[in-house]
């Protein structure tokens, strides 16, 4: 019911997206590289369309799984580099090693 009313309120500027358009823009959407207005229209389509919703879910899970593979950076490397950066900024490091 809610989505029916939402559909009535739609203007041409936020007309519904087709499955084809969603297919073209899905990856940008998942990477947060899509502008806000198209993101909203795309997510409205995903709510209504089971096929596109599943497609999005698949790629979302792939992305999530890849993000979990992110290796921890070596903590002592990071600490040394932060220290080094601070000394550089203070002019305490020679620029020609």
């Amino acid at each position: 019911m809610k989505s029916l009313f939402a559909r009535f309120r739609r203007t041409s500027a936020d007309s519904p997206m087709s499955c084809h358009q969603v297919g073209e823009l899905l990856q940008h959407y998942l990477d947060c590289e899509l502008d806000a207005s198209r993101s909203l229209r795309l997510s409205a389509h995903l709510e209504d369309c089971r096929r596109c919703g599943l497609e999005a879910e698949t790629y979302e899970r792939i992305k999530l799984s890849l993000a979990q593979q992110r290796p921890e950076v070596a903590p002592d490397s990071l600490a040394r580099l932060r220290e080094f950066g601070t000394r550089l900024a203070r002019g305490e490091e020679p620029l020609d090693p």
Binding site: H28, D31, A67, R70, A74, S77, L78, F84, G85, P97
Partner: protein, 163 residues
């Protein structure tokens, strides 16, 4: 400087070695401070990533010229026998394992982009800086690479289905 962690992460992806990654970031910071007068103050992360990429290329040329000629990663895992059997382990674990395998088997250009965007968390524009390719190339490699991972999940029966 909050960018140091991102730099170290990307350096680790480029060098695949903690010690080399630390050296690379240190050189990058030195070059950045030398060039700071030429920095326009916008997008510091992208600017630093560009310097990181150039530093990385110079270091490789100097130290290991053979690496630039060797296609390397493209042939990795060629001898690995692919088993599409779903094991007794939980579906979640085999999903992650399958994705890790699929990533390892991608051709180098696709794997690199996916590592930078999905694993290291860079934007398209930042990945384009690191790889020195147009943003459009990042997008098309990313999308094709993910498509291949997805195909593999399908074959393993691990992609979500409607029934």
């Amino acid at each position: 400087m909050p960018e140091i962690e991102v730099l170290l992460r990307v350096a680790r992806s480029l060098t695949r070695n903690d010690a080399d990654a630390e050296d690379l970031v240190q050189d990058t910071l030195i070059r950045a401070y030398k060039a700071i007068d030429r920095f326009d103050g916008r997008h510091p992360r992208a600017w630093l990533l560009t310097i990181l990429r150039n530093t990385h290329i110079n270091r490789n040329r100097r130290r290991r010229p053979e690496l630039l000629r060797d296609p390397g990663g493209a042939t990795r895992h060629m001898d690995e026998v692919v088993s599409d059997e779903v094991t007794d382990a939980s579906v979640e674990a085999s999903f992650d394992a399958e994705i890790e395998k699929a990533l390892g088997e991608l051709d180098e250009p696709f794997r690199r982009v996916i590592e930078l965007v999905d694993v290291d968390g860079l934007s398209y524009a930042e990945a384009a800086e690191v790889l020195n390719v147009p943003t459009g190339t990042v997008m098309s490699r990313l999308h094709r690479g993910r498509g291949r991972i997805r195909d593999r999940l399908d074959r393993a029966g691990l992609a979500p289905r409607s029934h």
